[in-house]
């Protein structure tokens, strides 16, 4: 690899790290806004999304520039392509944080404030999947990347439980329907964050092993 290309790739890595930190923060804030019915915090998440969108555009431009100017091959090519994909997925996770923040605003206007156990468990799992998938990317750690897929099955299971739980609660007390549909909405966004973290981890495995592992496990 040329010195110049190696420098560009280091810069790319740094930018992905920055973006990761900002997106993770956004998810955490959105989830806190739900937990503590904090509308101001939810608004903050919604406003900050613009910054994430701009970062995504910049990062993509940078990747394209590297492809055009340095024409990397083999692992370097895969690295740049994977950066583009992770960049894309991080931006979409940012959008999911906005969806959660929207729900937080609706939830904070309701009198109800019961947060089901499954949701708390999902919050922890989804955030830790996100962290782990990006740590796997930074450390180029296969083992860590593989652990993420296993965690995804647990998040999917928790989301299914949420459905059952919410269904039962609504039938017992239909007046809570509006509130509980919002809670279910949050659960769904968390499940989708788990899906994106899984995508990222699969891209990391691909980058390291050079073969596509997507769709090889359970869905």
């Amino acid at each position: 690899m040329s010195v110049l290309l190696s420098k560009e790739i280091t810069r790319l890595k740094k930018k992905i790290l920055q973006m990761t930190a900002i997106v993770e923060e956004s998810v955490r804030k959105a989830v806190s806004a739900v937990r503590y019915k904090n509308e101001a915090l939810a608004d903050e998440v919604i406003q900050n999304d613009n910054g994430i969108d701009l970062m995504e555009n910049e990062l993509e431009e940078e990747c394209l520039k590297i492809l055009a100017l340095h024409q990397p091959v083999a692992i370097d090519l895969r690295y740049v392509v994977v950066c583009m994909k992770i960049n894309n997925d991080l931006e979409r996770i940012g959008d999911l944080a906005v969806n959660i923040a929207d729900r937080a605003k609706a939830i904070s206007r309701e009198k109800d404030d019961f947060i089901p156990d499954s949701i708390s468990a999902m919050i922890e799992k989804a955030i830790s999947m996100l962290k782990k998938s990006l740590d796997a990317f930074i450390e180029m750690d296969l083992k860590m990347a593989r652990e993420v897929s296993l965690m995804d099955d647990e998040v999917d299971e928790l989301n299914r439980n949420m459905y059952q739980e919410v269904r039962k609660m609504i039938m017992e007390d239909p007046d809570r329907t509006g509130y509980l549909l919002h809670v279910l909405g949050v659960s769904r966004q968390l499940e989708r964050i788990g899906d994106y973290a899984t995508n990222i981890s699969e891209d990391v495995i691909y980058m390291i092993e050079g073969k596509i592992v997507r769709h090889s496990g359970s869905k």
Copy 2:
């Protein structure tokens, strides 16, 4: 552009077209399975998803090969990168068709069979967005690509109406909760298909104009 690169790009276009047809068919079948409570059709969608996954992997390998061997620049580079993204999004739309098929199976076991008007409207809109975004890609048609974003606002609006409608129906008759939550699930998947079609159309605009238009419109 070299003759060889031009040939490769024509081949890529053909494969994307094939994949588009298969994914569109999958969405149509899943939606029919919901409408007609056809469990066998839903199973077909679920089984065929494997084929879509394999196509995605192949197409991605092909794109990487073109990048490594032909090192395209300018519009050709953008074209290959956009193909990779559309490929990715098509595969995810295939996953959403599977989600709809899962709901169809649950729905077909329920006694209820009322399909709200908003859902029928969403089905038509989401499928036509998907078609239009891919036509815009094939024809390199800016106008068509721009129309897709406008349609997305309508799908989002319909999805919001669905929430209100379902909430009201559940409160009036809580025994229908299970069924109606599944219907709401279908509505959400359709809204996500609209989002992916919007992503595709924005990538088409980017390919033609060379500037990133993502996040410039309403969210």
